[in-house]
């Protein structure tokens, strides 16, 4: 009898503990998400909140025919598919570089991590200056010209704009994943390496047969969060390219912003957001399934 009373009060305590989180989530996440879905079926123009008319599936049928939307989908996937492996490998390489206990390593650790603590807007502005297409004002082009190469358009060339953003994003983001890998590396016991070396494994072999399997769950986690983050790409195109040139850097989230706030087509933007939500959810569920199946 006494036991069950305890259990009830324990349960009540648990609810009280989760209450603040639930209230905040409901107010700032669940409620707005439901509203987004509702507005997706209206012609809501942000200037006329008093004249919202239900328009059925219009926004969605329009979406299917909207070339810019499909380009945004393509760009977002392109960014994700390239940046995730690039950034993950870079982060792992950096983590391996600084995992040794040599002197002075902490300086490098701080250096590799520092882009992460800088605001993305600041980083994006700095890289915009470095990527300037004229060798007189862009650092990277000045280097290219010094090396006797042709200057590159970087952000002004539809062929290179997205790749330029991918490179700087990986540079900026790798520091964070590096820290996670570093923690993962420390979780692999020394004995495994010793055993491997007694069995005659070299550095490369012990990396593939000890380090990588030991990091498996860390890698899964890193890939998962990087994918979700990559899908949400916004700041870089917003600051650096405004989605151009020729649509080459217009991502889904930037398109939502552009439609909703700049062009004030709020209902339409909500429809894009709803579709975006479905894409991200199915991607993460799919990835979870693959991971579980292993």
């Amino acid at each position: 009898m006494k036991k069950s009373i305890n259990k009830i009060s324990e349960r009540r305590a648990a609810y009280i503990f989760i209450l603040p989180a639930v209230v905040l989530l409901a107010a700032f996440l669940i409620y707005p998400s439901l509203q987004t879905v509702r507005y997706a079926f209206t012609d809501y123009n942000i200037m006329r909140p008093d004249r919202i008319v239900f328009c059925g599936l219009n926004n969605f049928t329009e979406l299917l025919k909207d070339e810019d939307f499909w380009i945004a989908v393509k760009n977002t996937l392109y960014f994700t598919v390239l940046v995730v492996p690039f950034q993950t490998v870079l982060a792992l390489a950096l983590a391996l570089l600084i995992s040794s206990r040599r002197k002075g390593v902490s300086i490098f650790r701080a250096a590799y991590f520092s882009p992460q603590v800088t605001s993305m807007v600041v980083v994006a502005i700095l890289w915009t200056v470095m990527y300037n297409s004229s060798p007189d004002s862009g650092l990277l082009n000045a280097l290219l010209v010094k090396l006797g190469l042709e200057p590159c358009g970087f952000l002004n060339d539809p062929k290179t704009a997205m790749n330029s953003i991918i490179f700087m994003s990986a540079w900026q983001g790798a520091g964070y994943q590096m820290m996670i890998f570093l923690a993962g590396l420390q979780g692999i016991s020394r004995e495994q390496y010793e055993a491997a070396s007694i069995d005659g494994a070299g550095k490369i072999q012990s990396f593939f047969y000890v380090t990588l399997p030991g990091l498996k769950s860390v890698i899964q986690y890193v890939v998962m969060i990087t994918v979700i983050q990559a899908m949400k790409l916004f700041t870089q195109p917003y600051v650096m390219t405004k989605g151009g040139p020729q649509n080459s850097t217009r991502t889904l989230v930037y398109y939502i912003y552009e439609q909703g706030f700049q062009k004030r087509n709020f209902g339409y933007a909500c429809a894009v957001a709803a579709v975006f939500f479905v894409i991200v959810i199915s991607l993460s569920l799919g990835m979870k399934k693959i991971i579980k199946a292993e």
Partner: protein, 430 residues
């Protein structure tokens, strides 16, 4: 049991959200019973911020017990940050009483009934003291929806030393303003040794519509029709395509940079620039060693129409206003002869009231006289259409596409279609 509790929590949270979202608007009165009037305007340079502090203090002292004037300075940045904030306030019905808006946005807010007509704020005689260019920009459907204290204009700045070295003379009357071909040839001659011939505002944003739109007007067309309902046949007309092709030739041939460094002209890296009237003060103050001059805005080759950009931020009154009499009092104070003059002086822009020029005599002398003359005689505001936000974003995108290799006709067709689609979706039925 557990499910029921969660359900109850969710419902409570949702109701709370709904209630806070749609509550009655707050009464705009302070503890002393004074009517509180709030102004939103972009944050600006120190001289202007000081002007605001001083004027608000003076106003509040004179109206103690009746009105309290407040101002919120809002960061504008060079993109759409300010408008994002206004959009949010429209949604939450929480607009300030007085809202400063950029000239071309006046029609958007007016068409959507976000702002109110102000025709009776000044007498006929008082209105006649305001510049036509400013009133034109601030008029929608026959009513005035905003009042501005200052105007802006753009002319062609040039580096005297570089032009002398290249043996190029500049026109000294607007009738002789450079034609596009003359402008192109000058830019071509001046491009050498790491200096580009000219700088055509390349901010990838509003600057493009503001300055480059004049090339459409000069070539005998415009962005949209008279009613502001369609861009088809205007933005993408033959004349429009020619204008785009001309601008593209400057970029393509390397006589202007697609992404110029900051202050390219000021630092001697561009020999000429299409620059705003506000640059005069910057150049005088911060670049005393630069030997510069200014001449009239270039004009299209054959029978080109003399033109120049105009338009500036102006104050409008929003639908959320509660004490209209107090707002009128504030507006009459802010745009009095004296305050227009001191404001224009602080911000170094040409004032909108003719009488202010009796005090600000520097506008009768070169170089400022060039801007005054353009404003009074050749100024054209940006298009007045409720679909302006779509139009300007599409135009900026089209120009960037053209500058990176897309066919001008194709790019302008797409922009015109997007603008027309927006108009037909929201405003055609009004």
């Amino acid at each position: 049991m557990r499910k029921r509790v969660i359900a109850a929590l969710l419902t409570a949270a949702l109701t709370a959200g709904v209630l806070t979202g749609c509550g009655e608007p707050k009464k705009r009165v302070n503890e002393d019973g004074e009517s509180v009037i709030t102004i939103w305007s972009p944050s600006d340079e120190p001289a202007i911020e000081e002007w605001w502090v001083e004027k608000i203090e003076a106003f509040n002292q004179a109206h103690e017990g009746t009105i309290e004037l407040r101002r919120e300075a809002i960061v504008r940045a060079d993109s759409y940050a300010y408008e994002d904030k206004v959009n949010a306030a429209i949604t939450s019905n929480d607009l300030p009483d007085i809202l400063y808006v950029d000239g071309p946005n006046v029609s958007i807010y007016a068409a959507n009934e976000v702002t109110l007509p102000l025709d009776d704020f000044f007498s006929e005689e008082e209105w006649s003291d305001f510049f036509d260019s400013s009133k034109q920009q601030n008029t929608y459907n026959g009513h005035i929806y905003a009042v501005g204290a200052t105007e802006s204009s753009v002319a062609l700045y040039y580096n005297k030393d570089l032009l002398d070295a290249a043996g190029i003379d500049v026109p000294d009357s607007k009738e002789d303003a450079w034609t596009w071909s003359e402008y192109y040839d000058a830019a071509k001659k001046l491009t050498r040794d790491g200096v580009v011939g000219t700088n055509i505002i390349m901010d990838k944003g509003e600057g493009l519509s503001y300055v480059l739109g004049q090339f459409w007007i000069s070539n005998g067309t415009d962005f949209v029709n008279q009613e502001g309902s369609s861009a088809e046949g205007y933005l993408n007309s033959q004349e429009g395509v020619e204008a785009a092709e001309f601008l593209n030739s400057l970029i393509r041939d390397g006589y202007a940079n697609i992404d110029p460094i900051q202050k390219e002209f000021h630092n001697g890296k561009a020999a000429t620039m299409l620059g705003g009237s506000w640059e005069v003060a910057t150049l005088e103050k911060d670049y005393p060693d630069l030997n510069w001059g200014v001449t009239y805005f270039p004009v299209a080759d054959e029978n080109g129409i003399l033109t120049s950009p105009t338009g500036d931020w102006a104050a409008s009154v929003t639908k959320n206003v509660q004490d209209m009499d107090a707002v009128k009092e504030v507006m009459r104070f802010l745009f009095s002869e004296e305050n227009v003059t001191t404001y224009a002086q602080a911000i170094s822009k040409p004032p909108t009231r003719v009488s202010s020029y009796d005090v600000l005599t520097e506008y009768n002398e070169y170089p400022r006289s060039v801007f005054k003359e353009q404003l009074m005689e050749t100024g054209h505001p940006r298009p007045r259409t409720p679909s302006y936000s779509v139009l300007t974003a599409e135009f900026a995108e089209a120009m960037l596409n053209i500058f990176t290799g897309v066919d001008p006709k194709e790019a302008l067709d797409a922009a015109a279609a997007a603008m027309d689609k927006d108009y037909n979706k929201y405003y055609a039925k009004d």
